[in-house]
Symmetry: C2
Subunit: 224 residues, 2 copies
Amino acid sequence: MTYYKEYSQFWVSVDVIIFGFDESKLKVLIGRRQMDPGRGEWSLYGGFVSANESIDEAAEHTLEKLTGLSNLYMRQVGAFGAVDRDPGERVISVAYYALINVKDYDEKQREKYGLEWVDINKIPTLYSDHNLMVEQALKKMRQKIKTEPISFRLLPSLFTLTQLQRLYEAVIGEEVDKRNFRKRIKEMDFIEKTNLIDKKSSKRGAALYRFNNKVYNEDPNFKL
Amino acid sequence: MTYYKEYSQFWVSVDVIIFGFDESKLKVLIGRRQMDPGRGEWSLYGGFVSANESIDEAAEHTLEKLTGLSNLYMRQVGAFGAVDRDPGERVISVAYYALINVKDYDEKQREKYGLEWVDINKIPTLYSDHNLMVEQALKKMRQKIKTEPISFRLLPSLFTLTQLQRLYEAVIGEEVDKRNFRKRIKEMDFIEKTNLIDKKSSKRGAALYRFNNKVYNEDPNFKL
DNA sequence: TCAAAAGTGTTAGATTTACACCCATGA
DNA sequence: TCATGGGTGTAAATCTAACACTTTTGA
C-alpha cells in the first residue's frame, strides 16, 4: 500500500447472467440470495473478487462453482457502480453473461444452489440492480448472436434447424421466416448437416446439424 | 463494514479516452503520467473513485476537471481487472470514452495538464493497459457512430457535409463515396441545412448544417 | 484562368422480404 | 387417414455501390 493509500477502497463483486435455452425459450438462471442483506430475494449469482484473481477469473470461478462446467462462453457486460446499488455496503459489481447448454447442466448442481431457469420475459424483481444487468446483458447478446456463432453454445452439439431458428427467435424476440432463415444457414459451410436424424421433435424426423469450428476459423463469416 | 468484511477491497479508478476531431483526423487526448508508478509515461487521464461518488460520477468529475466542460457525451467501455495491470498496486479500472469538440476545449486547460492530441493511428505505447482501453473504446465508438447521432458531439454546432464525412471516415477508418454519403444525410431531417456558408474550407463556400435534436427525438432514425 | 472543394442522379447488382405447398411418419 | 413438423424456390421490392461532371470563386 505504498502508492495510493490516500484513496478509498471498495469491495468488487462479479455477477453472472447465465443464459440457457429450453422449450423454445431463452432463460436465465436465478436463485434466492443466500446472504444478508437481501437474503431470500431473487438474485443473480455472484461472488466477490479476491486479491489474487482478475475480475475475469473471479467470474469464471463463480460460473464454474455454480455449473461444474468450464470453458463456457462468457463476456463482460460492464461495471455497475451507483453508490447505493447494494443495500448493505458500497460494492462495485462487474456483470458478465455466460451461455450454457441446459442439457449439460447437472440438475443436482442446480438444486444444490437453489437455482431456477426463468423465462427471459418473466423475470421477477431481482436484488439490487440485477434487473438492469440482465437487460444490458441481453442487449449485448442480441448484437452478438447476429454476427458471431454463439448460438451453438446454447444448443446441444447436434441440433435441428428448427431448434436453431427457435433459439434465434427467442433471443431477438421476434419470429423469422423459415425459408429465409434456412437459406442463410445453407450459405454457412461451417454449419454441417450430419446424416443423423432427430426423431424426438417430429414424426418425420429432422436432420441434425453440427457446428464445425475448424471450418468456421478458415472462413469466419457469420451473419444471421 | 458489517456485511462483507471477510472479502478483499480494491482501489478502483476510472480512465477516460477523450476523442476529438481535428484536421480530418480522429484524435485522443493523452498526457504524461503525473504520479508514481509510471511517472512520465504516456497515459490516459484518470482518477480514483471516491467513496461518495458512483463510478459514472467519478468519470464525469475526471472529465470535467480536465476539460472544464460538462454534459459531454460519455459511455462506459468496461472494467479492466487483470491482477498485475497496474505496476504499483492492484487497481481495478473502469474505462470510459468521451467525445468533445476540439474547438470548445480551452488550450490553456490542455497545457495546464500537459495533454496532447494524438492521432488515433499514431498512439504511442501507453501506461499499463491503456492501449487496450483505447482500442476497445474505438471499437465501441465505431459501432455507435453508425446508429446514433454522436458525430455532432465531435463537431462544431455548425458544420459542413464534408466535415461530417471526413469525421465518419476517420472513425470507421475507410473512405466513403461522397454522393452516397450525402444521399443518406438528406434522408435525415434532423440534419438541417442552414443558409449560412462556410468560406474557410473552400473558395466556393460550403453550406453549413446543424443537428436538430428536437426533430431527431420525434423520429430518431439514424443510419450511416 | 485555373486550382480546389462543393454539389448533384442514375443504373446495375446485391440483398432482403414475402409467400405456399408437398413430404414423411406415428398415432 | 390425418395431424404434425420438416423441407423446399421464386419473384418483387428494396437497398447498396459504383461512377463523372459542372459550379463557384479566390488567388
